[in-house]
């Protein structure tokens, strides 16, 4: 698309917003529509848009296939690891209640401006923390799989 300077500029303007929107969907998924699956697809769509406009080599410099490959497995590992962590902490597999108040969830006193008593928590409930981690894993896997599929199709040389 070298002959379309306007599309190139517009894409350059839009991509940060798309990535931001993907993060919003990922982390706001507990409160509104959204979640790991959707965020993963949107993130991958942003990367694919970059690849469509600037060409595959440029995209592969941004997201090297070697790294994306590993992310496929990493997401699933985060998901399963959350379950294992629950087991190690004494609960059942994927029983998020035992994650409660275990991991860095306490708000430091210096920035604790919330009304009410005592130290507050970033993620007050184990359920919220567990769902957050699980959705993160799903998001990473979906992003990586979609990007990798795109690489596989786009990198294919057409035969006669």
């Amino acid at each position: 698309m070298n002959t379309f300077p306007i599309i190139r500029v517009i894409t350059k303007v839009l991509i940060p917003y798309i990535l931001l929107f993907a993060f919003y969907v990922q982390f706001h998924g507990d409160f509104g529509p959204g979640g790991g699956f959707q965020a993963g697809v949107i993130f991958a769509a942003a990367l694919i848009l970059y690849g469509l406009v600037y060409g595959l080599p440029a995209l592969q410099m941004v997201a090297p296939p070697r790294v994306v490959e590993k992310l496929i497995a990493l997401g699933l590992l985060i998901y399963g690891g959350t379950g294992i962590a629950c087991m190690l902490l004494g609960g059942n597999f994927l029983d998020y209640n035992v994650l409660e108040h275990h991991f860095l969830t306490e708000l430091p006193a210096a920035i604790d401006f919330l009304p009410g008593e005592g130290p507050h928590h970033f993620l007050p409930e184990g359920q919220h923390l567990g769902i957050f981690l699980v959705e993160l894993g799903v998001g990473i896997t979906v992003t990586a799989v979609m990007t990798m599929i795109f690489y596989a199709f786009a990198g294919r040389e057409p035969v006669a």
Partner: protein, 103 residues
């Protein structure tokens, strides 16, 4: 004269426009006519989502409209890309350019 009536009227108008765009997409004749109709159809869907969101008073669903407009653009770029170059071979217009090379 409730605003709801205006919203329903707007939704019906948008749906009419969507129908017209769909007819153009079916008629063709060139591929560019179809892509133009698709682009217009996508924009109208975004508007329809906005109006329906206000009509059902769940305006937090405007995220969806945002997503639709993004997907519309991405689909549009993909259609252009494949209709112009027939794939990823950038060979016709020179070697692939680094992102820094052009604004």
């Amino acid at each position: 004269m409730l605003v709801e009536h205006a919203l329903v009227a707007t939704a019906v108008a948008i749906l009419t426009t969507m129908t017209l765009a769909l007819i153009r997409a079916m008629l063709g004749p060139t591929i560019f006519d179809r892509v133009l109709a698709l682009n217009m159809f996508g924009t109208k869907t975004v508007l329809l989502i906005c109006v329906v969101g206000f009509l059902t008073e769940r305006t937090d669903f405007l995220d969806l409209a945002l997503l639709y407009s993004l997907m519309n653009f991405i689909g549009m770029v993909a259609l252009l890309r494949f209709s112009q170059f027939g794939g990823f071979g950038d060979s016709k217009d020179g070697s692939p350019v680094k992102p820094e090379a052009q604004g």
